[in-house]
């Protein structure tokens, strides 16, 4: 796949966003540990705001969404670093805004007219990348860090929509039939990536605000498929999907009287286990659905 000139950099401006640090710090912790082991330096972005999110803020006012995204891009430009993000929502917002503002002069001048009032200017000097892309391009190095391949484990990967689509802009993998996560699970972690019904479906998180019951019904469709596949766990790369799958299973138990109990891991947690990092360091105790059965199966300490 095309990654442009930003490939194989070892220092990034870390765009952490709002949801990972406040709701899914296990994802942040495990990404930091795995990327650190790869020798990648992450510099925090002082003064960054929300990306802002591509559903609510973009839904309320498109231009406000674009202006705040552009401001965040300016901060990284001032640092002289490409942005790395762990979150699909941040990735879609920042990469879309970056691409559009670079390509469309009229739009750029309009946005810079607003940014000028706070003394900033979008110049279009950096790239935006998802941490998964970095793990993917460093697959060989990552393999060398694996001490304990999880060969007995079957994993249901969930991509999350905004890692892949809209594909003309995000350009990470085939938007309808991707393999990037499956390949990391199989080639790096050493586990089996299973096929399951509704694999490419959205987790349903996007409808949580408008219709919580419908949102859970979409999630349930996915859980039925994953459950039938015999997967030992779910592996994903988006904090909204993480909360939807993890907390959602508790809600589904209550609302639908169905008990799935499928552990939900962020991909760096799964990679971390294969690297033999301590489960305690990977913060599994913050999960709603117990990860203990998985840890027992791979012979770790729950």
């Amino acid at each position: 796949m095309k990654h442009g000139k930003s490939e194989e950099k070892s220092e990034y401006a870390l765009f952490l966003g709002c949801y990972i640090p406040t709701r899914v710090p296990s994802m942040e912790k495990s990404y930091r540990m795995v990327l650190d082991a790869l020798g990648i330096r992450l510099v925090d972005m002082n003064g960054a705001s929300c990306c802002p999110d591509p559903m609510v803020v973009k839904g309320i006012d498109y231009k406000s969404w674009l202006v705040l995204a552009a401001r965040n891009l300016c901060l990284a430009e001032e640092m002289g670093l490409d942005i790395l993000t762990f979150c699909n929502g941040c990735f879609e917002t920042l990469k879309s805004a970056n691409t559009m503002l670079k390509e469309n002069r009229e739009l750029r001048e309009d946005v810079n007219g607003v940014l000028g009032k706070v003394g900033r200017e979008f110049k279009g000097k950096i790239e935006v990348r998802h941490a998964v892309e970095v793990l993917n391009e460093r697959k060989e190095e990552l393999k060398g860090l694996v001490e304990k391949p999880l060969t007995d484990i079957a994993v249901a990967v969930h991509y999350g929509c905004h890692l892949l689509r809209p594909s003309t802009i995000l350009n990470v993998d085939n938007p309808l039939n991707p393999t990037i996560l499956d390949r990391i699970v199989e080639e790096v972690v050493g586990a089996k990536s299973v096929n399951y019904r509704r694999k490419m479906w959205c987790c349903g998180a996007g409808a949580r605000m408008g219709d919580p019951e419908l949102s859970l019904r979409v999630l349930r469709e996915k859980l039925v498929g994953i459950s039938k596949s015999g997967a030992d766990c779910i592996a994903l790369v988006c904090p909204f999907c993480h909360v939807q799958f993890d907390t959602g299973q508790i809600l589904i138990r209550r609302e639908f009287k169905e008990d799935y109990r499928i552990p939900v891991l962020s991909l760096p947690q799964l990679v971390g286990l294969a690297m033999n990092l301590e489960p305690k360091q990977l913060a599994f105790d913050l999960h709603k659905v117990s990860v203990a059965p998985l840890l027992e199966k791979i012979g770790g300490v729950a």
């Binding site: 709002c18 406040t22 710090p25 912790k29 705001s49 839904g59 879309s96 929509c161 409808a207």
Partner: protein
């Protein structure tokens, strides 16, 4: 240009009503009575019905956007409808709350004391809290603040 604002009539008029959008929509497949993108477009084009309420249901999963044989983006249509809905005074309460947080602090989601303790126990940085004056100023200039206040009054 992948994702600029839509000229709705021009973009949507090429719709063939083939139903590929509905056939690929997780919401339609799960609950066809609640959300039917093909029918939403039909009603918009033939009857001028603007789907303000239902636009907030769209998952923004872009399945239909990727598959439409005519290159219509219903995802972007729904975004445009959300923008119009917001200006007309309707923003769902959950969305309003996140937007109000953004206006006040620069962040949509705030950290709880419990989560802050857990972050520190994991060796992660505390999250800088407080107000972001620059963001607030930008959101005033773009009109976001007014849209939000207009929706709160209704």
């Amino acid at each position: 240009m992948g994702e600029a604002k839509l000229d709705l009539n021009k973009e949507l008029l090429v719709c063939l009503q083939c139903g590929e959008c509905s056939g690929s929509c997780p919401l339609f497949i799960t609950a066809p009575e609640k959300y039917n993108p093909r029918m939403i477009v039909e009603r918009y084009l033939l009857l001028g019905v603007k789907p303000y309420d239902v636009s907030w249901l769209c998952l923004t999963c872009y399945e239909c956007h990727e598959r439409c044989p005519m290159g219509v983006s219903i995802t972007h249509f729904m975004e445009e409808m959300r923008n119009e809905s917001s200006r007309s005074g309707y923003i769902p309460s959950g969305a309003r709350e996140l937007a109000a947080n953004l206006l006040r602090t620069g962040m949509e989601v705030e950290v709880t004391k419990m989560m802050l303790r857990k972050r520190l126990a994991l060796g992660l940085n505390p999250i800088p809290a407080g107000i972001n004056e620059e963001v607030a100023k930008l959101l005033e200039i773009t009109g976001f603040k007014d849209i939000l206040e207009g929706a709160r009054k209704k």
